[in-house]
């Protein structure tokens, strides 16, 4: 890859522009580093990966709206967490986390436990745990 071949594409594909360092050959055939804002094939595959994650979150959202899962389930999926990972971050055991995915159990949870969940997702108040985008 020559210096002028280093791709500078799709700078606005994501919310935050980010430059990565690429190695490319100069006119004398020596390697140097060039900053690149993005490359179309890379944008496509990254978008593809995010679509896959968003799809999972959307399925979770539908389940919550139908009342089959608690809002916690949606927030977990949105943060790409499964029960094991959420258990790791909260310190609860995995079975309790799975129970908390049940809407009836989740409704009766105490403030202390709710606060732990809120802290993991970076929410300021526990009320945010009960809200999902409709």
């Amino acid at each position: 890859m020559k210096i002028d071949e280093v791709p500078q594409e799709d700078a606005e594909a994501f919310e935050k522009e980010f430059k990565v360092l690429q190695y490319a050959v100069d006119d004398n055939g020596r390697f140097t580093t060039v900053k690149s804002v993005g490359w179309n094939p890379k944008t496509v595959v990254m978008q593809n990966a995010w679509d896959f994650e968003n799809e999972k979150a959307e399925i979770a959202r539908q389940l919550v709206l139908k009342g089959k899962k608690s809002p916690l389930y949606y927030h977990a999926r949105k943060n790409m967490m499964n029960s094991a990972l959420l258990a790791g971050y909260t310190g609860f055991c995995r079975i309790s986390v799975l129970l908390h995915f049940n809407p009836k159990v989740f409704k009766r949870l105490g403030q202390k436990k709710l606060q732990k969940y809120a802290a993991v997702f970076g929410f300021e108040s526990v009320e945010q745990l009960f809200q999902i985008e409709s």
Binding site: V20, P41, A49, G88
Partner: protein
């Protein structure tokens, strides 16, 4: 307090951290050199292990490998520590900074506030260096960022104790001793020798060039085996491993070519220069592979097919096999 630590951007976090730390102790080595000495070039395809709903593709050895090999080859002594108690991990870091020691840490990227959101997955082997504390915020040198960043106490604690696969558990490391004289020549040759081992000499179908060939043949069957959607996602996963931050382009191929070029000068072996040119050429082919994969991922162009893409990979594997075999011979001659 602020340690006089020079932040320099790098393609890959692990190499970047090592190069930055070594520079602080007066050893000037480029990122490419560290990468080569640490034998960072690698390939593996593990179809039977699924991570994040896709098989494992890796263009690099396990996290920490480059670090260990590079420092060991150079004779630099490193102290590594993990902590069960998060508060103690932070205390220990503070003490280090107070003593003027820039300290490396392994962190997860998902909760790293300054990291661009599009790259934030649950990946727990990112490397950063803390080089000071001002107004209660830690000064952080993250090699993949353009400039230094800062992190608050709670933010740093959260990423140091990221959960999931390969938890960092507060891991931190710092250089304790640097030898007076460093035999770069020997380190470079040993690094190359190890890479030759991994790329062409290891038996079995999953590691090195045989792994690439294996993936090439497998890939052709993906659409009928997994369906178009899943096949496209898997293909995308390869390209992500190849091109996402950290590789310097083409799954470390350009970075390794840069290393070969530098090594040619250091060892005065011209054959390495021509190998670097060949390596760049295969790197360009990896880029072609990414373009083809990107089109297949979009799923609207029919000129590309899985058949052709697989063949391209097999072609690359054959070329790289030749490159590393030649490299093996060069190393053998030079070591005599």
């Amino acid at each position: 307090m602020k340690i006089d630590f020079k932040h320099q951007m790098a393609a890959h976090c692990e190499n970047g951290v090592i190069a930055n730390l070594l520079r602080f102790y007066g050893i000037e080595l480029s990122e490419a050199m560290v990468f080569g000495i640490g034998s960072g070039i690698f390939f593996t395809y593990l179809p039977f292990i699924k991570m994040g709903d896709a098989p494992v593709f890796a263009f690099r050895p396990l996290p920490g490998y480059i670090f260990n090999k590079a420092t060991k080859s150079l004779g630099v002594t490193i102290h590594t520590e993990k902590f069960r108690n998060p508060a103690r991990a932070m205390e220990s870091l503070d003490r280090n900074l107070g003593n003027g020691i820039p300290t490396g840490m392994v962190v997860g990227v998902f909760f790293l506030p300054y990291f661009p959101p599009q790259y934030r997955f649950h990946f727990n082997a990112h490397n950063i260096v803390a080089f000071g504390k001002e107004d209660g915020r830690y000064l952080i040198s993250d090699p993949v960022m353009e400039g230094p960043e800062t992190l608050g106490y709670d933010e740093l604690l959260k990423v140091r104790y990221a959960k999931g696969i390969a938890q960092p558990k507060g891991k931190m490391y710092y250089i304790t001793n640097v030898p007076d004289r460093i035999d770069t020549r020997e380190a470079v040759l040993n690094g190359m020798k190890r890479s030759v081992l991994y790329m062409v000499r290891l038996p079995g179908p999953v590691i090195g060039v045989t792994g690439m060939k294996y993936l090439g043949t497998h890939l052709k069957r993906w659409p009928e085996k997994y369906g178009d959607k899943k096949a496209a996602r898997y293909l995308g996963q390869i390209v992500r491993m190849q091109e996402e931050i950290g590789t310097g382009g083409a799954g470390f191929r350009f970075l390794y070519a840069a290393f070969l070029q530098e090594a040619a000068q250091l060892l005065q072996i011209e054959a390495l220069d021509s190998l670097a040119v060949k390596m760049t050429a295969t790197g360009d082919k990896w880029r072609d592979f990414a373009v083809a994969a990107g089109r297949l991922c979009k799923g609207r162009e029919l000129t590309e097919s899985y058949e052709k893409t697989g063949d391209l990979l097999i072609e690359i594997a054959a070329e790289e096999k030749e490159i590393f075999q030649t490299l093996g011979e060069i190393v053998r001659k030079a070591k005599k």
